[in-house]
Subunit: 608 residues, 2 copies
């Protein structure tokens, strides 16, 4: 399109954003209006995309990191002929795909945004996929607001992209000076942003975001810049084009006070249609497969489940060419490094930047890759908001947390995952697994590759006895009854390290004449409700024991099985109720009262 048409298109996008928000009675038209010219030029002259074939491997990727500018995004979709005008006006209404913030319910949206500072990190993942996995020429365009540049996650992304020389990535910074509650920290100091972004190895272009010719030139410069990602730093005005709101405070996140007047001021309705450039004719990369040969451990031996994780992952990588692994600079601890040795091309070092690690994985899965990410369970809390949003994105993601619980020993509470089960269980549609031995781990690692949603696997630092044979099966949602009889008077429900403590406790209880059932609840979500209910019915008493805080973990998962009106047992929960210090793993389990002695004692008390 020529510059006159582009100016018209920009006005159309503004008008449609105003109309959508007005019809909804809420939304962010002013945040859309600042970026309308930028996006008009991108859509018409620089984007390569087939709206008819959103799965086309050659498609560019456009992410609205400032997800609240959704009216603008939907106006773009309308201009491209993908969304009819009637649907545009369904914005934010019950059942509409045009949600308040974009989600992949729309086929042209890769990932959900709306929690600020996430779009660029995800874009880095897509750009990495383009360069190192797909090896396809698509480009990734990310629109950011200025307020979200305060988020550290954005700087993790600038760092990774600059260092990895992702010249297929362009960040468009919509510097409209006004945040939600007033001016941003740097207002219109474009140089302040340029200095920072350049320092991280990016090329930058400062531009008047309402000067169509300059914007067009900036996008061309971004496309032609090699070996560095480009940030287009655009000075814009919030609410641009409508005097009542332009560059004025107090108009964030609300419809325009006089929509009809605003539309008139913007030149009225238009119906420009944009013929978006077609993507190049390219093909999906091959992702070769081979027979899965999982590692096997001998029953009676000892092995750390984190070791089994790494070995299984390496084997899975050989069997499936679509599996990729991301590390947060602890691959030697999580054992993800074992994958790197066999499959260096599909291993991504994200250094200590857990948010970027998860976001990159979300980007890669949007391109059909099957990512596994791992760090210490404790440090996954750093990426909580990214995991939450990954769920809104309908992402498939395997997450492993190592060094779970007090059983890590001397390193102390800062390194102990004691909240991870609560965090992962509370995520919509998640799966939460916690194996107790190496063979079990191996099978669960493989199962996660086909598990929808966020799948979590919790591993242990120290070695634990191998109690299951390598041929045993461990379906998600299942459990293993390790010890039972018709005379059982109590059921001990455990997972991970506490399974071995529970088995020892059952031995002690047998000596006291108290037969005890032992359930290995390796699948915490979904949990094996049938086995838990049968245990309640058969034994009447249940003791749960977990290396985790009492809230949100195994105890809660078990108690949940007794909701909905079924039989309810007498229940005692053992969990980590004190602030740990440093000591040996055995001393830790003892101090937390989750060792065999504590379990036996609680069971005795409960049945008495």
């Amino acid at each position: 399109m020529d510059h006159r048409q582009l100016r018209e298109l920009g006005q159309q996008l503004r008008v449609d954003a105003v109309r959508a928000a007005d019809a909804a009675g809420s939304g962010h038209p002013t945040s859309s209006m600042s970026a309308a010219d930028l996006m008009a030029v991108l859509l018409a002259n620089h984007l390569h995309y087939s709206f008819d074939r959103p799965e086309h491997p050659g498609n560019d990727h456009l992410i609205f990191s400032k997800g609240h500018a959704s009216p603008l995004l939907y106006a773009l979709f309308k201009a491209a002929g993908a969304v009819p005008d009637g649907e545009l006006l369904s914005f934010r209404k019950l059942g509409s795909r045009l949600e308040g913030h974009p989600t992949p319910r729309l086929p042209w949206v890769d990932v959900a945004t709306g929690s600020l500072g996430q779009g660029l990190p995800v874009g880095v993942g897509l750009a990495l996929a383009g360069k190192r996995l797909d090896r396809l020429p698509y480009r990734v365009w990310v629109l950011l607001g200025d307020s979200e540049l305060a988020e550290g996650s954005v700087w993790e992304a600038f760092e990774q992209a600059g260092h990895d020389r992702l010249d297929n990535l362009t960040a468009v910074l919509d510097i409209n000076r006004l945040g939600q509650r007033g001016p941003t920290r740097h207002e219109w100091d474009l140089d302040a942003y340029s200095r920072r972004v350049q320092a991280f190895g990016w090329h930058t272009v400062e531009v008047d975001g309402h000067d169509i010719a300059a914007v067009d030139q900036a996008f061309a410069e971004a496309r032609s810049t090699a070996l560095r990602p480009t940030a287009i730093i655009a000075r814009t005005k919030k609410g641009r084009g409508v005097a009542a709101v332009e560059d004025r405070e107090g108009f964030h996140g609300k419809p325009l006070p006089d929509a009809a007047g605003a539309i008139e001021e913007l030149g009225g309705l238009r119906d420009l249609h944009v013929e978006v450039h077609a993507p190049p004719e390219v093909h999906e990369p091959e992702r070769p497969t081979a027979a899965l040969r999982l590692p096997r451990y001998d029953v009676g031996g000892k092995a750390a489940t984190r070791d089994a994780y790494g070995r299984a992952l390496a084997a899975l990588g050989t069997a499936r060419g679509d599996v990729v692994v991301l590390d947060g600079e602890v691959g030697d601890s999580t054992r993800a490094q074992l994958f790197a040795e066999d499959h260096p091309d599909r291993y991504f070092e994200c250094y200590i930047a857990e948010q970027q690690m998860v976001a990159a994985a979300v980007g890669m899965q949007a391109r059909g890759w099957v990512p596994y990410v791992a760090t210490f369970a404790a440090f996954l809390t750093r990426a909580h908001d990214f995991l939450r949003m990954a769920s809104v994105s309908r992402a498939r993601l395997a997450v492993a947390g190592s060094h779970a619980g007090v059983s890590i020993g001397e390193d102390g509470p800062s390194q102990m995952g004691l909240e991870d089960l609560a965090m992962l269980r509370s995520i919509h549609g998640s799966t939460v697994l916690y194996p107790c031995d190496a063979n079990q781990t191996v099978h669960l690692v493989a199962a996660l590759a086909d598990c929808p949603g966020i799948g979590y696997l919790r591993t242990t630092r120290g070695k634990t006895p191998v109690i299951y044979g390598p041929a045993e099966r461990f379906p998600i949602g299942g459990s293993k009854v390790l010890r039972s009889s018709d005379e059982d008077r109590v059921t001990l429900v455990a997972a991970g390290v506490t399974v071995h403590e529970a088995l020892a406790a059952a031995g002690r209880l047998a000596e006291d004449g108290i037969p005890a059932r032992v359930v290995d609840l390796y699948s915490l979500k979904p949990a094996d409700t049938a086995t838990l209910r049968a245990a309640a019915e058969d034994t009447g008493c249940v003791v749960t024991v977990e290396d985790h805080h009492p809230e949100g973990g195994l105890g809660d998962a078990v108690a949940e099985a007794y909701a909905d009106g079924g039989p309810v047992p007498r229940l005692t929960r053992l969990a980590v109720r004190t602030q740990p210090g440093s000591s040996t793993p055995e001393q830790q389990l003892h101090a937390a009262e989750i060792d065999a002695a504590a379990i036996a004692s609680a069971a005795r008390e409960l049945v008495a």
Copy 2:
């Protein structure tokens, strides 16, 4: 100390770090050895601190952001005469204060570290307190590793400190080139770090971290630099001084292979004592108090609990001069802004940087201030790791999450707090509150000021009916039975918005001849076990209903009351089990099946 003595002191610190880790059989001596010269110079020549009076208001603050260098920190404490040699060798042993990573169990440690990238953000909070609250001349010194510079939280801190011109803050960057599993991203490229840090408005000094004279000069330069914080960017060698490990991979986080030989190579044991400079004679700032005049709402009216939060906070700020408020650029939404209007000097804008916001609060409370932080409940997940570590820090912190649940309506799932109760409940020693009306909110806001640990208050976007009088009391750990009779056949347990739905449901059930008890469980942790148990005993059936995912929230809290062998009711849990889209608040509650109709239906089914 002169430079010869300082070199000796550096060697002593290395020797003691090696000895401590050797005695423990674990720990991070090589990460300590790289920073030993830096810390020797700081302790002897630049720090002002009274180890006899750790509460002295004039004391400098020294934070080891690289908490794994704890052997070095403890060696410093020994050199200062605070820790005897025998205790040094108790490092990482059961009961010892010298934990694997530092915690405030030691009186000279302000905050726990060990989750990387947190020390500098906390240091920014202390420096802000020094400048704007205490108005005292103490300095804040933060030792960082190079690996942790990949964490976005560090760049949130650089940004805030640079913009706020915190010249009382010095970051010491120990660039030893090696991370846990291999080289860092920038290895010894000091310029790469300088460019980035300078871009954020800091003064930087590049230095050989083992050149005592240069280091001494760098600290002097930091102290004399006005209007900008200083980063000393020091090229160092990991394991410095012991050839077997110096600058070699594979020696992270483990004792030296030959400790005796290493000690000999380092020149053997020394017993240098450092007379640390005394702090200036200054006094604690006055924190005036006045009578507490809380806002009052009329029963029968409607008000948003977030409005009540802001008004109560402003009133509390008038009554207590120690209350400070931090905002994540959403103060107009959380209503924290109402505090700013009355008490601008005690209000801190952290922009959209939730990690920095929480960390700054943790720093301020270490100086005796009583911080309240607030953002959308959904975005608190961004600061999960900081909240977790705040608990390890024994910090007192009031946290408010607004826009909880699907009841926010049109904005959609990215903005909905649906995991916040699970997150906050799982934090050790936390308190979790969820008021349903304005007067209740007001009282709970005030109560949090005296609540130990992490106190969480969940607020609602929309208006809810005022059902309690302003004189009503709401003790933490209590509940309110809003409706009850001797004939109750079912108990409805709710909190926040669902209280009003439960009351409506009870009305419908009464029409059906099913008398229902309604419990407002405004205190989720601790929960009112006695009332819940009585309800189970009296009615046998309990329906819980919450605007939150099913895991980790109200349902789990209620189920927990039925553990430990007491009476157990038939239990049905209503919660948000689907992925919400955009629609009105009423439509959202209906779609999630947590509205009055769904509650009544579940209760009917349960009692049938």
